[in-house]
Symmetry: C2
Subunit: 116 residues, 2 copies
């Protein structure tokens, strides 16, 4: 086993769907033991956004901090600290923190669909 | 998609390996959309423990609150808030909060090995 603080993982800029002010860290990825699913850490800074997009991977999300408008759900949908978000495969989704005052951070688990 | 506060999920007592003062909630399980992996929420109250045990499922864990002694790793290993813990399949592990003053809570993702 291993134990690591999430801040020790490398920070990557997120560019999917023209995301703004968003970073991601692979907490458990292919290179660090993941077999069929991977755990990532996302942070959308105040003013940031992951615009509406979709893909084959479903999302199992747990919100750690802040709140954001959820795109793709009913108008006015918000996700906030302690919320669980489930996004099925190929369903459009996004997270809008452009009006936020604090970072919106969450854990996002995805399947590793491309087997090596 | 759906969004739900984790506290809305049903609480189950954890009995594996004679665990004490430990509860679990299925955040995303088979009944709520999980396909190949499931997200659960664990809480070990002060004085509680999940003793040493092992199983086929690997664990991808993110610690939300508190700290606990980790069983199965090197002597003195502790997991605390913001730590990631990865436990490979069939490796002995456990979490000891018997000396703790606050709850130890964490997200734990497992593969769904028994396909329906």
């Amino acid at each position: 086993m291993y134990i690591v603080n999430y801040k020790e993982r490398e920070v990557h800029e997120v560019t999917v769907a023209n995301s703004q002010k968003t970073t991601m860290r692979w907490l458990v990825g292919k290179a660090t033991g993941a077999r069929t699913y991977a755990m990532r850490f996302f942070e959308i800074a105040p003013g940031g956004i992951i615009p509406l997009h979709s893909h084959d991977e479903e999302h199992e999300i747990f919100v750690l901090k802040g709140s954001a408008k959820v795109l793709g759900g009913p108008e006015g949908t918000v996700a906030k600290k302690d919320d669980v978000v489930f996004v099925p495969p190929n369903e459009e989704h996004g997270y809008d923190n452009t009006k936020g005052k604090e970072p919106f951070t969450f854990i996002c688990v995805i399947p590793l669909l491309e087997k090596e």
